[in-house]
């Protein structure tokens, strides 16, 4: 029987959305696999998360140590290698923490490593078939993962359906004692918070979000006008911030802010998962893009193939005329 361990990321005593997605992913790997949640941390926050996981997972392992209060990948790795069986499949969500943790963990566990998986197609012997995206989502690729000596796999957030029935009725097992030596050559110092800008995009119900398709700094005005017509706020993808056309506080995405609007207009945004990773709460997504093959059209509710520089002014005018 395949043994799967899912690493639960959490902050302030609350598990990340991905925690509910691992069971679906595990099911696609092997329907009959046993799935164990692993939570590391310290104190009351940890207990709270571990407890909350019992409704989704029948087995929950917690590792409590003051050194684990902040998830320093090197320390977490040390704790995990003493607890995860060598031939198990270890699942984590593909986020900035697991990019720190997972590659090295696979070496220490001497198992296969696969990152950023968007789908699984089941196990065939010791061969796990999975799907990744490459080249900015332009193409998909099948990969075969040899799980004969276990595997460390990260999955793309939002790629697997969350399990919300909450009837697992699991129990928390405290394995803090097995963690062993947690000394590290890397020391966490502090978090430097991103500067807060003039507009809080996380508070807006409607976002007009712009990407590379805006082409030029001056054209941002066109988006502003549409946003005004819709009483919305302008947000953007990473390239716009990199170009310094808008402030960092306007950026939606895994390296920017997470937003939960009701309606999300993706204007000239190709729709990389790093960007869409910041769009939560299942908004109604309208995508406008010149390129009919843009990946955004896979995740949007409504798609329009047009040049945003022509489309946005016309839409703004039509809305103003209502």
């Amino acid at each position: 029987m395949t043994q799967i361990y899912a690493y639960i990321p959490h902050t302030n005593g609350v598990a990340a959305d991905a925690a509910l997605e691992f069971p679906s992913a595990a099911k696609k790997i092997d329907d009959g696999a046993s799935v164990t949640a692993v939570v590391t941390g310290s104190g009351a926050d940890l207990d709270k998360v571990a407890e909350s996981m019992t409704s989704t997972y029948s087995q929950v392992i917690k590792i409590d140590n003051a050194d684990l209060a902040y998830p320093n990948a090197e320390i977490v790795r040390k704790a995990l290698i003493n607890i995860i069986p060598a031939d198990a499949i270890f699942l984590a969500v593909h986020d900035t923490f697991s990019m720190d943790l997972a590659p090295g963990l696979s070496v220490k566990m001497d198992s296969a490593y696969a990152a950023d998986i968007v789908d699984f197609e089941g196990v065939d012997g010791t061969n796990l078939k999975a799907i990744r995206q490459e080249l900015g989502g332009a193409v998909n690729i099948h990969v075969n993962i040899d799980i004969s000596s276990g595997a460390v796999i990260t999955v793309r957030p939002g790629s697997f359906a969350p399990v919300e029935d909450g009837s697992a009725g699991g129990a928390v097992e405290d394995k803090s004692g097995d963690a062993g030596d947690l000394s590290a050559k890397r020391k966490f110092l502090e978090i430097v918070e991103a500067e807060v800008g003039d507009v809080d995009i996380t508070k807006s119900d409607v976002l007009v979000s712009i990407g590379r398709g805006i082409e030029d700094e001056e054209n941002i005005e066109i988006a502003q006008e549409l946003a005004e017509a819709m009483k919305a706020v302008v947000s953007c993808s990473r390239p716009i911030v990199d170009a310094k056309w808008l402030e960092k506080s306007r950026q939606v995405g895994t390296s920017g802010l997470t937003v939960k609007p009701k309606v999300y207009l993706a204007m000239g945004i190709s729709g990389s998962f790093q960007h869409m990773g910041g769009v939560k709460g299942k908004p109604f997504i309208v995508a406008v893009n010149k390129n009919p093959k843009a990946p955004i059209f896979q995740v949007a509710d409504v798609g329009i193939v047009e040049d945003i520089l022509d489309f946005m002014p016309e839409l703004a005018e039509a809305i103003n005329d209502l």
Binding site: E217, E218, E221
Partner: protein, 689 residues
Amino acid sequence: MTSIVGPASFKFFGIFPSMIFSFIIPVIGVGLFAYIMARRLAPLLRANPDNRFDHIGQRVKNLIIVWLGQIRHPRYMLAGVLHICIFFGFLVLSIRSTSLVIVGFSDGFVLPGFGGSLGSIYNFFKDYAATVVLVACIIAAVRRGILKPERYAVPEKYGHDHTAEAVFVLGIISVLMISESLFEASQVVSESRFTDHAHFLAPLSLVWIFRAILTSASQNVLQGLHIFAYFVHDITFFFFLCFLPLGKHFHVITSIFNVFFMRVKKGNIKPVMHGVTDEQLDDLESFGVKKLEDFTWKHMLDFYSCADCGRCSDHCPADAVGRPLSPRFITIKARDLMFKNYPLTGEIYKSNLLVEDIYTEDEIWSCTTCGACEQECPLGIEYIDKMVDLRRGMVDEGMVPQSLQKPLKALEKRGNPYGKMEKKRADWANDKEFKENHKIKDLSDKKSKADTLFFVDSITSYDDNIQDIARRTSIILEKAGVDFGILGKKEKDSGNEVIRFGEEMLYQELKEQNSEAILDTGVTQIVTADPHAYNALKNDYGNLPPVKHISQVVAQKIAKGELDLKPCLDPDKVYVYHDPCYLGRHNDIYEDPREALDAIDGLTRVELEKSRDRSFCCGGGGLMLFYEPEEETRMGVLRVNMAAEIGATVIVTACPFCLVNIQDAIKVAGKEGEIEALDFTELIEQHLL
């Protein structure tokens, strides 16, 4: 009582001969001047080479028209006329001043040939000359010191104001004029008391006025004044001579050389290093201008020659929109650095990187190379080549903004700045409707032949909104009976902006590939609708069959009666033609597009105030579209507003980049519906019979 005594014979207090001063002053003056000039020449001797001894005929012509003829001065009427007055006054008075120096040793000296009637005629003119110069100086001083035209203001970031120096020099010139006239008037009054015949003086001239004032003065006063005026003039004259090389009035000395050596060709870019062929470029240790001494000697002479008149910056579109560039201060800052690093005494300082020392990177990238500054400069100071040389230096050091690195890399990999695939370069011809009626020959495979190559260039090939220009140009050529084809995927970007943005080796590569592909086709002429491509192929490549812009083809075919146009489809509209920099200023094509427009019956055409060689850049083409400058407004917006002010409803241009910039500017200016932008080819194609 005796007649008045001249400076050669006068004795102070009756014993001390004034001739000693007449001797010492010129010796010190000339000696000091020679020393200063030698120090000023030092940096030019360390500068890079420049080939300025070619086209002697053209250079002499420039000397006559631009220097002596002062042709560019009346472009600013008041300042220009004042300058012409002072300039010619100086020329006339230079003879008098020379002979006055000798009068200090020899009373009553006249230059050979000036004894008889020629002398009288000369005296008549020089009296007026002195008067006119004085009047001009007074008006100029009022203008600079009191009215203070905005053009001369020095923004804080560029240093201190130059008004004091300007007014001081006007004062010195006035002193020269007054002392010369007093010297003569005192003599004339005195002589008239001893001789019968009245000395003829030009009526109402300064001398004439002084004579009237001095008629009743005593002989002693006249004698004192005579000697005093002489030495005031002598000292001022040599002081002025030595003062000239210390500031903006150096141009009085250098202008004649600067104009003689000014650029004679238009539209081209100087080689990386004069005397180094393209093949030898790889052997150069360094590229472009990084330090002061990397400029050519002519470019240094430019710095010395600047009169700080501000005409360049007054016409600079970058300056107008608040970009961190003012051509005037490109020169002034470099001149100040030359003065600082090459002081009149003591050691010469080592130069630093110019873009860290006196310029900023953004300043140098802000130039659109439109050429308005060079067109305006009365002294023939160059800017584009300097900008390109400075950019070459920055590219060599890796100092290229990220926004420009992407298109440059794409040009290297794909031959176009957008990174689009080569095989899609001719996709514009595959438009369904177009393809049904028109077949475009691809000359690159050598199966097809044609006399004429239509060079499309990148923006017209790949930009969805501009591809129409390619299709319309083809239709016009077809209608005009031109047998033409294209290079298809073998065409690369012409590289007009690649060389102008300082990426010389990338330009060389593009040029090589294009040249080979073009020469392989065996065409006898090249036509393009893109003035930037036109300019590069014609002026930068220099190895190709003749190149024509589509507007030239149209104008010629209309003139020959081989192309007929319908009456105007929109007679109610008011059309204005915007001169693209690379068609107009860089290539003197002003009339062809206008003639073609005027051949449309019933078309109402107005002219912008800033038109022809004073056209205002739309914002720049090629790589400039990728650069993100700091600016307060867009050049295109200013241009659209100019057109709106004169009541135009259609701006016709003949350049894809102008079209892009002006179309965008109309949106930004909020003038959609009021005014529209149209490419020349669109207007002509609509009106084809």
